[in-house]
Symmetry: C2
DNA sequence: GTCCGCATGTAAGTAGTTACATGATTCA
DNA sequence: TGAATCATGTAACTACTTACATGCGGAC
């Protein structure tokens, strides 16, 4: 999903500034599927404003820099709905760099493979602990009362996303924990630049 | 993983043309983590050649267009290994458009949510059937005997990738099948442009 | 007194997608 | 005869990342 659409999604829950949208991408349920730095968020907000999908209002703050608070417009809501309705079933391929590395496990140093798997197991455990620990509904970053009104408990979306993430990460973790021994055992048995590789066979 | 590195990975298994690399991305174990059309593969091969990581040889064919067969060089092998060693534990976030849509399930038409989930369930089932049915080792697309020599059975990488993919897709499928009823039941209960949404609350 | 958080934005560069351009063979 | 497969490449465009630029307030 492109940054413009994810910004629109955040703003559908309530008004927010560019900085707050960034936080929504880093923490909370949006962090499971959205990404983007300031370098993509701010230009996206400018474009969305020009297209009439959102509008911005300056808000002065005491002892803090001014904020540009963006609100979604009716056109923006319609655009979000139409974007959501055109989601295609494909394109949910696993694109994992770790998997790419494991494909070549036999050709890489055993210690390296072991360390990479352990690091990933740790990452999954932390991720899962964090996801199980927090029940935030998606609008935790939003200060406006409106967000709370819309997202408090009754809305099931955030819970689905959270539980889906937990299910998938748990499966990945289980796999790595179970297969770690076998993968490490066969790792490094065919070093790429030594005897017995395709390079030699071809010559 | 960028296209240059994935091309290098395919070529580490044996010589191939740009067209054959494309096929490797579409079918076989590479399809689980690699992507790229001709528009990215051919420029990548040109760059890799200039960097001395691969070299190309023209091969004439009867009744077929000429092929440019690329071979990985020793420098290319080393580069691939160093790329694989710098894989970071992060960045394996689930970035799913379906999940993004389900986050807003309560605000979208019930029939649409049901159809989208069913389509995805079908996609997962097909994907899993295909993955379970084929035991290809990653070099199925390569005509050279060397690929067979390198990848026949003894190499565990392709199997790990395949089994990891199966585990993760199965978890995602199980979740959708179990939660389908609940998700559809709460879908469409809060249409975005009608009464009771943030839009109204803000006004 | 130095680093972190709050806050907004631009500029340059990287990487990838989509469409275009060509042309023979083979199969239905 | 029309579509699919084999085969290579370029050009224009889109989208995103990284680094730069600025500046105040509060915590340690």
């Amino acid at each position: 999903m492109d940054v413009k659409t994810t910004c629109l999604g955040v703003l559908a829950l309530g008004p927010a500034s560019g900085y707050e949208i960034r936080k929504a991408f880093e923490e909370g349920p949006f962090s499971h599927f959205a990404e983007g730095g300031y370098g993509s968020i701010y230009p996206a907000l400018t474009k969305l404003t020009k297209e009439g999908l959102i509008d911005g209002r300056k808000e002065e703050q005491a002892k803090r820099p001014d904020k540009n608070i963006y609100h979604i417009t009716e056109a923006g809501r319609q655009k979000l709905v139409s974007s959501l309705e055109t989601v295609q079933p494909a394109e949910d391929k696993i694109k994992s760099d770790l998997l790419f590395m494991l494909f070549f496990a036999d050709f890489l140093p055993r210690e390296h493979i072991a360390a990479a798997i352990d690091a990933r197991i740790g990452w999954y455990r932390e991720k899962l602990a964090h996801m199980r620990g927090c029940m935030e509904t998606g609008a935790a970053h939003l200060s406006q009362p409106v967000a709370g009104a819309m997202c408090s408990g009754a809305t099931s979306g955030p819970h689905i996303v959270r539980d889906f993430g937990i299910a998938v990460y748990q499966a990945a973790l289980d796999f790595l924990e179970q297969e770690r021994g076998a993968i490490v055992a066969s790792a490094g048995t065919k070093p790429m630049t030594a005897t017995g590789t395709a390079q030699d066979a071809a010559e």
